[in-house]
Amino acid sequence: MALLGFIFKIFHEPLVPVAGTVDLAPFLVMVSLLSVGAVFMRLRPAWRRQWLRRIVQSVGLLAFVFGLHPCACMVRDLLRGGAWINYNNVWAFQSMMLVVPVLAFGMAWGRAFCGWVCPIGFVQELVGKLGEPLCREGSSRGVLWVRFVMACSLLLGTLAAYAFIRPHNEPLLQGIPAAYLMVLSILITFSVADRQWEVGLRRVRYASLAFFVGGTILSIHMQAAFCVLFTNDRQYTMLLLLAGVLAAAVILSSAWCRFLCPEGALLSLVTRVSGWRVRLEPSRCTKCNACRQVCPTDAIEAGHVDDSACLACCRCIDACPSGALDVEEAASDQRSSPEPVEPAKAARA
């Protein structure tokens, strides 16, 4: 109960007020962080790029979680903000001031928001460090069993917790975060059981996006893991989802971003028209699999970078000893080779 009364936001006044009390600060912070990320992505040589990325992510975390009060549910904001244009322009502006720059940068840099700014992604990365020993490629069968049991436990734990906190009314409002966590647990279980299903399971995020869009159009208040951090909204089931997403990141790195994040799915669609993407130069590739080892979403498979899954975090680029990977213009797609990189066989065991 003490948790419900805990207020973790620092600022309680609009820093850059416009139109009454609409705070322009989240917009300015978002544009600044995305711009810095875009510059660092193109850095050559990539001097301490991952270190700089951590700083950008930390600033994003401090600004959006501990500092400001933005509503950053981009899918909902896009739909509702769009519907308010020419009807209530103040609310339309307030709703869309974060989603518009994220989508605009997405058209240039793909899911740069996910890899460089998103606080949920950053927190998952931090928590995922705990699970790195378990998630390494070539782990023994025993380790795989441990992860499988953890994934099953997450599902059972979710069911038990939801049975305990289940609200007796508003099942749609409060049941959605719990349903998300149950689906996430099932997806993780399958992914851990056989990694070959990973590519297919990733497509579930489009269903998640469709579900989110459909619900919003039907006037259902769709909520997901990020509402707790961004707006202080502490529904019990949302807190459960946030805890579950962090637990899932230990079992499978960036599990929420891979399978269910509706914002990520929206940016995945935008990535199809993005100007710059991570590309692999086959002639330079030594098939060392260093890129696969560090990719948080397993977006590199068989010599091909899955743009829709790539978070543009550039960890693969910085890990590649032969410089075969880089951020390049989308026009240079033809250089990408379908030649498979030999995956570690143990990972498929």
Binding site: L4, L15, T21, D23, H168, N169, L173, S219, H221
Partner: protein, 481 residues
Amino acid sequence: MIKRHRFTLACCLLLSSASCRQKAVPVEKPLLAEELPQFDQPLLYAAWNQEGSWPQFCHDPLHSGRSDVDLGSAEMELAWRFRPTTRAWTYQPGFAVWSSPASGTIAGRPLVVLGSQDRNVYAVDARTGEKAWEFRPGAPVFAAPALGVVGGRAMVFAASLNRSIYGLDAVDGSRIWQCETASWSFTAARSVMASPTVVVDNRGEVLLLAGVWNADRSATQNVQSGECLAISAANGEVKWRRRLGSVPVSSPAFARVHGVETVFVACGDGTVHALALADGAVLWTAVLNEESHSSPSIGLVEGLAQVCIGSRLNSVFGLSASSGARRWRAETGYWVDATPAWLKEPSDGGPRAAVVAGSYDRSVYKWDAHDGTLQWQVLTGNYAYSSCALARIGQTPVVLAMSWDEHLYLFEAGRGQMLWRYQGGPLLWSHAYMGDSLWASPAVIKAEGRPMLLFPAFDGVLYAFRPIQPTAASRSADPRH
């Protein structure tokens, strides 16, 4: 050492100074002696001042939410239920099931008047729960109706989403006048109507104060206008209208401050305005920290008038009623859409003012009205969205609050101890968009001398409860007496 960490220190200083930023409050002169009674008799400037009535949203023009009804007991029995229809119209964002109720005795018959999602205004006999009359404006009525006596005639004023405010005969519900606040067009959108407030000005004229928001989505003649209107209650003529912004406007509150009849109204963009009742001139404007869906309420703190209002940045504010200067800000865990109610508690140094409001963080809060110090916080099962109603049991003040967990709660105001609660049925609709609607609030009335609680519930039923009067033996055994 300091040199090494000067950047970190500078950041910490910057953050702490930003979070602690507060404006100095100028010294104020106290209210005039003749202005003090309005806080003891909140219906003094209302156009309806029967004892035990609840003539408008939050009881009175101050929005104090405080009824002087003595419930006598915390044990309640269901007196009646009123369910006008089983039909639930399709939910749309902004819809609620009921408006907040108003109540008074009209032609010897105690009536409860409230609007419904089924596009009707109902008057219900408070003795039996039977429908006395209904009025069909053609669009839902989510603004609490208001009662007033105009030229010896009892009237009901109702604001509907069809951009109109109606003056009705309170005896039979027939329409006396209709005031269209914006003209119809093919591109006109549904308006947002705040609960009207009825006051008597210093010339004895009854005025209806209304907060309306109209929109026309036309690309060429686009309208997005939040206004405060003063309307003659006798004939519906608009005396003045003041545009306050492009977003919805709250229910206006009214008080006399330093000889000026002042209307206090908040705008959805987080601004609070004080307007002169005479001509709508803006006396001052204060800016909160976020958008506000709450309405201002006014109370007396150490001889000074103070405005309290909630915001969507997890705050309740205490503002000076004469200048708008911020006196204090109290924190909650989430939005405060409720209108803060003003509690007067007996203390050694005379009555002491406190403010009570529910928050979307599930809690009902009580703060000291002097400095915003938290006195208690009690958790309900879900969003505590409603504006609280205050009454008393003997000399003990009690708080009535509704929560999204479908319950009506009765708390003892001193420590926040729950005395009684009742669960209504589930929401009419399968879902509702959180934060788009202002849901109904409870009321405390007296019907034929007997106290009664009104609970406009989510399930489309208006519940009325009567206290079970304790026997002499049980009264002596009860430590509260």
